[in-house]
């Protein structure tokens, strides 16, 4: 378990991380969300022992990152933001170095390196120096060094940043596979990633925790939760607006559709459906929304209530 209590970091007079407390259990994939500069990377740097907190504590599987730094760091695989590596080293040499620093020798070292290479499909670039690799390969080398010792805790700072859609899919799949009985913390500002890989999402803004829940829970805080969108001819907005449980109507001129918003906690699809049948409207498209994460994200991180 990761336990974070009142974690705070100030740079000069600026508070970058402000009194953050949360827990992460094994098996959870925690998505750390927030706009750029919200304090995601700073939090991760404190979790991995790179930065000392101004105040508060972090415990990794019971080891205090400040007092038992090395024991805690042995439990962690970390991909820093931008996946910095030693550019002048060949991939094979770099991974061998990481394996040695992680305490593996001889056959065990080779086995670990081979396993990480196979998992990230790095066979073709083993002899190349890291600085000559494409962005996608560099990121994969960074991930390979993070998972090499099969750590119980994985902390990945923007693992898919700068990757193409296929590579993103691969990395997400990898995270999904790794997540079983591990703790995975990823930071991202790509919202689709949260729905795709995370079992829980934290949203932070200006260093403060503003939301904590499953992606579904967060989506349900959207004003589009349970909204019904219709495309059809001769729809009557006034009749739709008068239905019980309807909070309002939005017209989308570009798609030629109407979105009927539900009041919080209400389900309006049956009423809308009944009205369509009663009036005999021709409806070509009908869509019930779970909610829009990007809208929740914007509302929360701009400091407005969702």
């Amino acid at each position: 378990m990761i336990e974070i209590n009142n974690l705070t970091r100030r740079f000069a007079q600026r508070t970058v991380v402000d009194d953050l407390s949360f827990r992460v259990q094994p098996g959870e994939v925690l998505g750390f969300l927030g706009p750029n500069g919200a304090g995601k990377s700073t939090t991760m740097k404190m979790l991995t022992g790179f930065l000392a907190p101004t105040f508060g504590s972090a415990r990794i599987l019971g080891f205090d990152i400040q007092r038992q730094t090395l024991q805690a760091q042995r439990q962690i695989g970390y991909l820093p933001e931008g996946a910095p590596c030693y550019g002048d080293m060949p991939v094979a040499g770099f991974l061998a170095f990481i394996a040695e620093v992680r305490g593996f020798r001889g056959a065990e070292k080779r086995r670990r390196v081979d396993a990480a290479v196979a998992r990230l499909e790095l066979e073709k670039v083993l002899g190349q120096s890291i600085e000559t690799l494409s962005k996608g390969f560099k990121r994969r080398v960074g991930l390979a060094q993070a998972i090499l010792h099969e750590p119980p805790v994985l902390i990945l700072d923007e693992p898919t940043d700068g990757l193409d859609p296929n590579q993103k899919h691969q990395v997400r799949q990898l995270i999904g596979e790794l997540a079983r009985d591990r703790i995975v913390v990823i930071s991202t500002h790509i919202l689709e990633e949260v729905s795709a890989v995370c079992s829980r999402a934290l949203i932070i803004a200006s260093g403060r925790l503003v939301a904590d829940g499953t992606p579904l829970e967060l989506e349900s805080r959207s004003r589009y939760h349970q909204a019904v969108t219709l495309v059809g001819d001769a729809l009557d907005p006034a009749a739709l607006a008068a239905l019980p449980g309807v909070a309002g109507i939005e017209a989308n001129p570009v798609e030629g559709s109407l979105t009927v918003l539900a009041r919080p906690g209400e389900v309006i699809f049956p009423q809308v459906n009944a009205l369509i049948h009663q009036r005999g409207w021709t409806v070509r498209e009908l869509d019930v929304e779970r909610g829009r994460l990007d809208e929740v994200f914007r509302a929360l991180t701009r400091g407005e209530a969702a």
Binding site: G49, L70, P80, E81, Y86, E100
Partner: protein, 244 residues
Amino acid sequence: MRQLPAILKRELGSYFATPLAYVFILIFLVLSGVFTFYLGGFFESNQASLAPFFNFHPWLYLFLVPAIAMRLWAEERKSGSIELLMTLPISRFEAVFGKFLAAWAFAGLALLLTFPLVLTVNYLGDPDNGAILTGYLGSWLLAGAYLAIGSCMSALAKNQVIAFILAVSVSFLFIVSGFPLVLDAFAGWAPLWLLDAVASLSFLVRFEAISKGVLDLRDLLYFVSLIAAWLTATAVVVDLKKAD
């Protein structure tokens, strides 16, 4: 301490990953030859000794050694790999000392490659080989002191050129602290013990004895403690500056 060899190996390898190592060794050998034979008057002195070779080392190292120390930490901070290094399960001591040892081993290798001089002087005459060995040891210790200063300056500056200039400047102070130039500044007002203390910090004074083949335990201790002090300072600076 178990991870020290891994750090040492990686650092040493990175010298040879770029032309830096070969360029450095070449320049070092050429310059030490020039100093020994032209400026030092190796043949004219008509003595079977390597004193003309060792005498110029404090000045030769002043510019060459900061060149191998400047990348130690500045490069890590610039590329961001310091975040990777400092989140691996290694102690601060292992990181600082491992990097220093790699640079020191490299300097030692360059120094060893001057062995033809030893052969030459043995061929020409009958030198005191014990004194030569002491000279080599002293020279290597001197290089270590320069490197420890350079390591700290490299941790201070993100830019390698600035790290180089800082290292040359600080090292220069350690060379000239035994000269009237510096001592005169203290002479008027400072108590004698301070004057002696400043003078005793000088590389030149300490190295002179060793290069002549006189190995005093106090001189040995001087270099070892100087290295230890600057490496401790490096560790502190790395901690303060790593996240900038």
